[in-house]
């Protein structure tokens, strides 16, 4: 028995030519987390397609397709609008646009968070087959919810048409507002996805918390109704996040405080999420 001629190219088990610190090809966790985020954005063709596919798969072969989103939002608004204008004796032309703008902004934020919880769990098949940046799957969920947002936006246009209103140029604030909201939604989604992959109770906890958050945030009720505005309104970061989109849609620029709060949560949230990503990014494949 002689050794195979090409044997030296593949390591012999007994051979020891290792780097003592095992550092070949090894990069710091921060660098790899950063690369994950950069590559995640760079892989936009993939997550744009996957996000679209998610929506289309849901409504494929139905008559209205994704416009069922618009329809169901319109039905919800009509019902809630009828109920609460009668209950609170408010002016429908004031209450309905407020309700609609708030609901669609909330639907985007809460959708991104709840979907984010299952972003990695649901993508197990992909994650275990191909190396892709994790953040691409978060972008996919946020993008998917953004598509839903735009479909819902049509319901708002419908409301505007019915009440013959125009928001005016102030409505352009919706673009930076939506961007900042999206930035917040993305870190929330990413963070939830990372934690949910390890702890499978987290999606349930998040669901349980989002429900009361919806009621405590002025979305179906108007902030003027409460006497203590600070406690129930100003101290609630969700209020400010919603305001970024709702205020422009209603024809006003968001308050400076809302920008400040949203910017702060975005910075702090991304900081924390980056730390999580640095520590747990490589573990996600093992947890799934």
């Amino acid at each position: 028995m002689t050794a195979a001629p090409n044997a030296e190219a593949l390591s012999r088990p007994g051979e020891s030519a290792p780097d003592q610190h095992g550092r070949i090809g090894r990069r710091s966790g921060s660098y790899l987390a950063w690369r994950d985020l950069v590559d995640g954005i760079a892989s936009w063709p993939l997550w744009l397609l996957l996000g679209w596919q998610d929506i289309r798969q849901r409504y494929r072969r139905s008559l209205l397709g994704p416009f069922w989103l618009t329809m169901s939002m319109a039905v919800l608004i009509a019902t809630l609008g009828f109920l609460f204008t009668n209950l609170w004796k408010t002016d429908p032309s004031e209450y309905l646009p407020f309700l609609t703008a708030g609901l669609i902004a909330w639907a985007f934020l809460s959708g991104a968070i709840t979907d984010g919880c299952s972003a990695f769990i649901g993508a197990e098949g992909y994650i275990k087959q191909v190396r892709l940046p994790l953040s691409a799957f978060t972008h996919r969920t946020v993008w998917r919810n953004l598509i839903i947002f735009f479909h819902n936006l049509l319901a708002y246009v419908l409301v505007l048409v019915i009440f013959r209103m125009t928001p005016g140029l102030e409505a352009l604030w919706v673009l930076p507002g939506l961007f900042l909201l999206g930035l917040n939604a993305t870190w929330l989604s990413l963070w939830c996805g990372l934690v949910s992959a390890r702890f499978r109770d987290v999606p349930q906890i998040v669901n349980a918390l989002l429900q009361p958050a919806f009621y405590i945030t002025p979305i179906i009720w108007m902030p003027d109704l409460v006497p203590d505005r600070f406690l129930l309104v100003q101290s609630n970061p969700f209020y400010h996040l919603i305001e970024l989109v709702r205020a422009p849609l209603l024809g006003a620029s968001p308050a400076l405080l809302s920008w400040q709060v949203a910017a702060t949560t975005a910075l702090g949230g991304w900081g924390v999420t980056f730390l999580f990503l640095r520590s747990f990014r490589s573990r996600v494949a093992y947890w799934l």
Binding site: A3, P13, G14, G22, L49, Q53, F199, A285
Partner: protein, 656 residues
């Protein structure tokens, strides 16, 4: 240029059950300072890869072979960058394309074209790159207009064609493939084989995990045998499959994998004429229990010297090389067929700096006659000084020298490890090496076989033990079950170990000042259960009798009987030796070993009291050839039958 470089990679998976996956458990644990559920806090880790090193360069086609759960898929995923290992380093250069699942990301609701794009995007290609491939894919799949239809309208065959074409139209630098891909539709694969060949040939490096010999033989130039997460061996596909088959079926085939410390060595165990397979009657890890000792002896010195006497086919030599590649090794083996295997095995494992000495060792130079028994292979060779035999094939005359002469001849300056395993000739080897052992003071590993009670074997082992005790100042016994060492104080202790059901086959001999610290962590804290348990009292009759009740086996083993007496302070034991009542009437001899002193006691019809002083640390051992006879008479009626009994008359404390 593409390459793969894995260095000492280990991967382990956490296995979560619902409990440890829940946040509640984690919170509760941290809240209670880790005290709560202490035993449940550590979730199970499965070690999927252990210390795996693997290199592959441009043009290599590597097959991964191993049983289910060997770590093939995990290794592929590490190469694909999906699992980042906790230990070790992975360096992969080139675009890696993992092909584990043809239908990955295929959306039945999307059209054929959309699915092609999707697949391409998963492989990290741009839209433009994908668009360029479309005509070629359309041509191969022959789907034509169907490509604009949702995939759900396709037949299975069409779907497979589309998936296969989409996956194989992009040329990766490094292609990783799981055999599941090719297992699918055999007919289709045959049809698509040209495309597959081209695809595989197009990759710079190809890694295929498979059970299929046919696939590996066809696509791979080299194969790697994995087992339990370790790379055991890498060689040509043919050799690896031979080894793999042989590992599964256990059939002898001449080549075997020998494992030392998680590494594999290829050894050839059969020669044209003599079958050596008996040597590997266990699991191919013959004498693995001695590795702890080898490792400690060789890891200390900068350039360890090792003399392997009775090197056989080279297992200990290879183990030594694995622990200390720089070691200077003298492998002494006399039998021509064995020497041939030894040199082949060294060559096959690229070990070229071992001095092979084709001589036998004895207590004086000259000629030795060796008889190879027909039925047992080389594993049980008898060495005789001169025993004429009719069959020249079973008889050979070998040249003998002494250890002292060998050391002088080769100017061996030091010996860190001396291994002696020469099938009953150990005493002569030691006698011929007295000067070297006294001067060089090696740690020695001596085969010591007392498995038989045949008088000549007993006599031989006793004289070997005496010889060892006179040369070395510490003797340890290797417990094969615990792989730990027990210090032996006397031959009686050794016998009692054997009689209480232990297998005594290997002794480690050394020098207290030099080796005690070296072996410290291997030494069993509880020296021997019998001595340990009865240490409290043998000072009373009740104590002695209760000991006998606990260890009835001590009394009924073949033709011997053992009492290991360890007392807390010196006593004088006064006793009668009696035949088991019904046998009585005939006088016979019982040998009493106290430490290494032997007393001949005679049992008479009318017992004569015997006295014996016992010091703390002493061992007593009674041996009588008549017990076997007694057993055959009585075993049907009394399972605890014994040939003789000790009637304790008195136990008198002695002044220190």
């Amino acid at each position: 240029m593409a390459f793969i470089d894995l260095n000492h990679v280990s991967v382990s998976f956490p296995v979560f059950n619902a409990r440890s996956r829940s946040i509640k458990t984690t919170l509760l644990q941290s809240g209670a300072g880790g005290l709560l559920n202490a035993q449940e806090s550590g979730f199970v880790q499965i070690q999927a890869l252990r210390d795996v090193s693997l290199q592959a360069r441009d043009g290599e086609r590597v097959g991964l072979i191993g049983p289910n759960g060997a770590g093939k898929t995990t290794l592929l995923r590490v190469l694909a960058g999906i699992y980042e290992p906790a230990l070790g380093a992975v360096h992969v250069e080139g675009r890696v394309s993992p092909l584990f699942d043809l239908h990955l990301g295929m959306d039945p609701e999307a059209t054929g074209y959309e699915n092609i794009y999707l697949r391409g995007l998963f492989l990290g290609l741009s839209y433009r790159e994908i668009r360029k491939r479309i005509p070629e894919i359309r041509e191969f799949t022959e789907l034509g207009e169907y490509l604009s239809m949702p995939v759900r309208t396709y037949s299975d065959g069409m779907r497979l064609r589309l998936a296969f074409a989409a996956c194989t139209s992009f040329r990766p630098d490094i292609l990783l493939m799981d055999e599941g891909i090719l297992a699918g539709d055999a007919k289709f694969i045959e049809k698509a084989s040209m495309r597959l060949d081209r695809f595989i040939q197009g990759a710079s490096i190809f890694v295929l995990a498979s059970h299929s010999e046919q696939l590996i033989q066809r696509f791979c130039t080299r194969a790697v045998l994995l087992d339990a997460g370790r790379v055991l061996w890498s060689d040509t596909p043919q050799t690896i499959f031979d080894l793999y088959r042989q590992r599964i079926t256990g059939e002898p085939m001449g080549k075997r994998l020998y494992e030392v410390g998680g590494r594999g060595y290829l050894v050839q165990t059969s020669w044209d004429r003599f079958s050596m397979d008996g040597v590997f009657s266990t699991d191919g890890s013959y004498e693995a229990w001695t590795h702890g000792v080898l490792e400690r002896a060789l890891r200390g010195p900068e350039r360890p010297y090792c003399v392997d006497i009775g090197a056989n086919i080279g297992l200990v030599t290879l183990a030594c090389k694995s622990f200390a590649p720089q070691a200077r090794i003298y492998a002494v083996e006399a039998l021509p067929p064995t020497v041939e295997l030894l040199t082949k095995n060294l060559e096959a494992n690229d070990v070229d700096d071992v001095t092979v000495i084709r001589k036998a060792l004895s207590d004086r130079p000259g000629k030795l006659d060796v008889v190879l028994p027909e039925d047992e292979g080389l594993g049980r060779v008898h060495v005789t000084e001169s025993r004429p035999t009719q069959d020249p094939l079973r008889h050979c005359s070998v040249e003998a020298t002494t250890l002292d002469q060998l050391v002088a001849e080769h100017r061996i300056p030091q010996i860190d490890l001396l291994k002696i395993d020469v099938e009953g000739w150990e005493t002569q080897v030691i006698r011929g090496g007295q000067r070297s052992i006294r001067e060089l003071r090696p740690l020695s590993l001596v085969e010591f076989n007392v498995a038989s009670d045949a008088p000549e074997i007993q006599e031989r082992s006793f004289s070997l033990f005496q010889e060892l005790a006179s040369m070395f100042d510490s003797i340890w016994w290797i417990n094969r079950l615990t792989k730990r060492l027990t210090p032996l104080r006397s031959y009686a202790q050794l016998r009692s170990l054997m009689l209480t059901g232990h297998l005594v086959e290997d002794l480690v001999c050394g020098f207290r000042d030099k080796h005690a610290a070296l072996l410290q962590d291997l030494v069993d804290p509880i020296s021997h259960y019998a001595t340990y348990h009865c240490a409290h009292d043998l000072q009373t009759e009740a104590g002695l009798l209760s000991f006998l009740q606990v260890y009835p086996d001590c009394w009924s083993h073949e033709n011997s009987a053992a009492v290991v007496a360890q007392v807390s302070h010196p006593v004088l034991l006064k006793f009668n030796l009696l035949w088991y009542p019904e046998i009585g009437g005939e006088s016979n001899t019982v040998w009493l070993f106290k430490n290494d002193e032997v007393d001949r006691l005679v049992i008479t019809e009318k017992p004569k009291p015997v006295t014996c002083a016992i010091q703390p640390g002493d061992s007593l051992f009674f041996w009588c050839a008549r017990v076997r006879e007694a057993r055959s008479v009585w075993q049907n009626d009394d399972p605890r039958v014994i040939g003789f009994n000790i009637e304790v008359l008195d136990v008198v404390p002695l002044a220190d």
